[in-house]
């Protein structure tokens, strides 16, 4: 009994020892690799924060409105953005290298998955950012049009335009990522058909008012009888 117990214990210790001798060196190497990557990332971030001014990129962010969109205070600057971006990119590279040291099936799958997914993730992120920017731009255009036309629902219309554009960008991004493709596409179809149906219903139920507004807005002398000629503004 004691002998058997001793044998089991010895086998366990041998197995553990074998596993330790097999995995500890790679683990140590992985920690070293990740640690080096972390140090390099810290160094590069520090250098970029202190050496890179990125005035042109700052101007681009400011002029296109992307800076204000990403950071409402409007204080978003190129150098911290770039420095943090590169910092995390180096960390991720270090992590992947560290994982690949183990050379197991699982680690190989993880590394392959991340390498294949990364471009798609970047593309999806770019689509979302572009979608938000476009939603903001088109929403503002819609807001201006509706407000200058005197509609009381100008802000709601602006919000609707934004939601639609952001939703479209999410659908496209999901398609790129191959993530719940059918669900998003179905939701988009239902939403679009619903919106068109609602608009048709509103037009059908209020066609006289819509016609009156359309005719009044374009023909002088109806509701604008007491308003002066546009020439007289110049």
């Amino acid at each position: 009994m004691i002998e058997t117990f001793r044998q089991v214990l010895e086998q366990s210790v041998a197995r553990l020892s074998a596993q330790a001798t097999q995995f500890l060196p790679p683990l140590f190497v992985a920690i070293v690799v990740f640690g080096v990557a972390w140090l390099v990332a810290l160094l590069v971030r520090w250098l970029l924060l202190h050496a890179f001014k990125g005035e042109r990129f700052d101007a681009f962010l400011r002029k296109t409105g992307i800076g204000a969109m990403l950071d409402h205070s409007g204080r978003l600057r190129a150098s911290p953005l770039l420095a943090h971006g590169i910092y995390y990119a180096i960390l991720l590279t270090g992590l992947l290298n560290a994982i690949s040291v183990f050379e197991t099936d699982i680690t190989r799958e993880i590394v392959d998955g991340v390498v294949h997914l990364l471009p798609k993730l970047f593309a999806a992120a770019a689509i979302i950012v572009a979608g938000i920017w476009l939603a903001q731009y088109l929403g503002r255009g819609a807001l201006l049009w509706a407000s200058n036309e005197g509609f009381s629902w100008a802000r709601r219309f602006c919000a609707f335009v934004r939601v639609v554009v952001v939703f479209v960008s999410i659908v496209v991004a999901a398609d790129v990522l191959n993530f719940a493709r059918t669900v998003f596409f179905s939701a988009f179809l239902i939403f679009t058909i619903g919106a068109v149906f609602a608009a048709c219903l509103v037009l059908a139920l209020n066609h006289r008012e819509v016609y009156r507004w359309f005719a009044g807005a374009r023909r002088p002398g109806s509701e604008q009888e007491d308003e002066r000629s546009l020439w007289q503004h110049l």
Binding site: G65, R140, L144, N148, S152, R228
Partner: protein, 446 residues
């Protein structure tokens, strides 16, 4: 290098005529009702005041669906009614062609300028085709300073109803005056005289396909003439009475084109206007007299409601241009305007100047948002007009001019802040300005 944009039929006409001393240009679009009168006035003006010159009247039409072009070509004038002292040596040619390109007054002018240039005209005048108050004397007053006094650009000076020309009175005149230092009272008047060198300068430019093609053309012409250092004067033309027909554009688009052109030119001529301080009178030709003017109805409530609605709806867009302080003041104004009677509404000069200056700065700073920024000015402009109407309700023409002068002085006084915002010297580095003389133009008879 001047690019040739003439349509084939216009090119043929130029080759047939070969040369002309004076070109009178009339842009049109569905102006069949009024253009005949304008053409006859031009013809009479050329016969009466410039009998020794070879004159051509060119109608540049934007594809009218009425009989505008027919009216131009068939406009008849009985010379015996003019009581001419000398017989004209040359017949006045009348031409009418459709222009190509973006539909708008600017594109029409481009074709006229190209023809004037190719004909080697010594002077060119352009007038609107819907004018009811135009007389042959207008052409004498627009052309003679160029032909006989060596001026390059003649701007109009009219008597207008106090509620007429509100974009001019509230934005364009005070702003261009403070920027470039010339007191040109009607910088977007629409009727101008100019010399060949100015026309060449216009034709060499590459921004014809922008807002300049539409309503931006008038301020573009005036600003370029002034900022390029050409010799500029004004001529008193009497009253300006238009046909009551509205153009196809809405107020917001019109404001965008005019104000957008001013702001764009501010970017281009930054080095010119940042050096200018104060303003000076420029010579005014013509004999000034008072005239009766058509009354103009204004809907005060609608304008104030547009301002209040704009303040609540467009804050997001305004915040891209306006400082927190200006936004707070506008919010307080809208808040107080809601319960108060419409005739008590006031938008103070200083606040208005800050609004315009801050929008101009944002226009330069945020190219992607330019169109939105300028379109969002509409409710602010309507608020300012409502305030102006309230302030001048019981004023006569002279008092109204004094009121506009106060606004101009506010623009000049606050210009150092604009210069600082555009990267110029700090406000405290500016030398103290001498007290500005009242902005009345001097009267000089021709």
């Amino acid at each position: 290098m001047v690019q040739d944009i003439l349509p084939p039929e216009a090119r043929q006409a130029v080759e047939k005529l070969r040369r002309a001393d004076i070109v009178i240009g009339i842009p049109s679009y569905n102006n069949g009702r009024t253009i005949g009168h304008v053409v006859r006035a031009a013809q009479a003006g050329l016969n009466k005041y410039f009998p020794e010159f070879q004159g051509v009247i060119i109608n540049s039409d934007g594809g009218s669906r009425d009989d505008t072009r027919k009216q131009v070509l068939e406009a008849q004038l009985d010379p015996s009614q003019l009581l001419l002292l000398s017989t004209p040596l040359n017949p006045v040619h009348r031409l009418s062609f459709p222009y190509h390109g973006i539909p708008g007054k600017g594109s029409a002018f481009r074709m006229i300028f190209q023809m004037a240039h190719d004909l080697g005209a010594k002077a060119c005048a352009v007038v609107d085709s819907d004018l009811r108050s135009i007389t042959p004397e207008w052409f004498d007053l627009l052309l003679r300073p160029v032909l006989h006094r060596g001026y390059d650009f003649v701007a109009p000076y009219y008597h207008r109803h106090k509620y007429d020309g509100t974009i001019t009175n509230s934005i364009i005149y005070p702003l261009t005056r403070s920027l470039y230092g010339h007191r040109i009272r009607q910088p977007i008047g629409g009727d101008f005289g100019m010399s060949l060198p100015v026309i060449e300068t216009y034709l060499k430019r590459t921004d014809w396909e922008t807002d300049v093609a539409r309503y931006g053309i008038d301020i573009w012409m005036t600003t370029i003439a002034v900022a390029s250092g050409y010799k500029v004067c004004q001529s008193f033309l009497g009253a300006k009475l238009h046909d009551a027909k509205d153009p196809g554009a809405d107020l917001s688009a019109m404001l965008q084109q005019v104000v957008g052109s001013v702001f764009s030119l501010m970017i281009e001529f930054r080095d010119v206007w940042m050096r200018v301080q104060g303003s000076r009178d420029i010579e005014l030709f013509g004999f000034r007299y008072d005239v009766g003017l058509d009354p103009i109805a204004v809907n005060l409530d609608r304008m104030i409601q547009a301002f209040i609605r704009g303040e609540s709806d467009l804050r997001e867009i305004w915040s891209m241009a306006l400082s927190d302080r200006t936004l707070r003041e506008l919010a307080a104004l809208a808040q107080s305007a809601r319960p108060a009677p419409a005739d008590q509404f006031r938008l103070p000069d200083e606040l208005w100047v800050n609004v315009i200056h801050e929008f101009a700065s944002a226009f330069a700073e945020l190219p992607a948002a330019r169109s939105h920024l300028v379109r969002s000015l509409t409710p602010l402009y309507l608020g300012r007009v409502a305030s102006f109407v309230n302030e001048t309700r019981d004023m006569n023409a002279s008092e109204v001019e004094d009121r506009i002068e106060q606004l101009c002085l506010a623009f000049e006084r606050l210009k150092p802040f604009l210069v600082e915002r555009w990267g110029g010297p700090r406000v405290d580095e500016f030398p103290p300005q001498p007290a500005a003389a009242p902005g009345r133009t001097q009267e000089v008879t021709s």
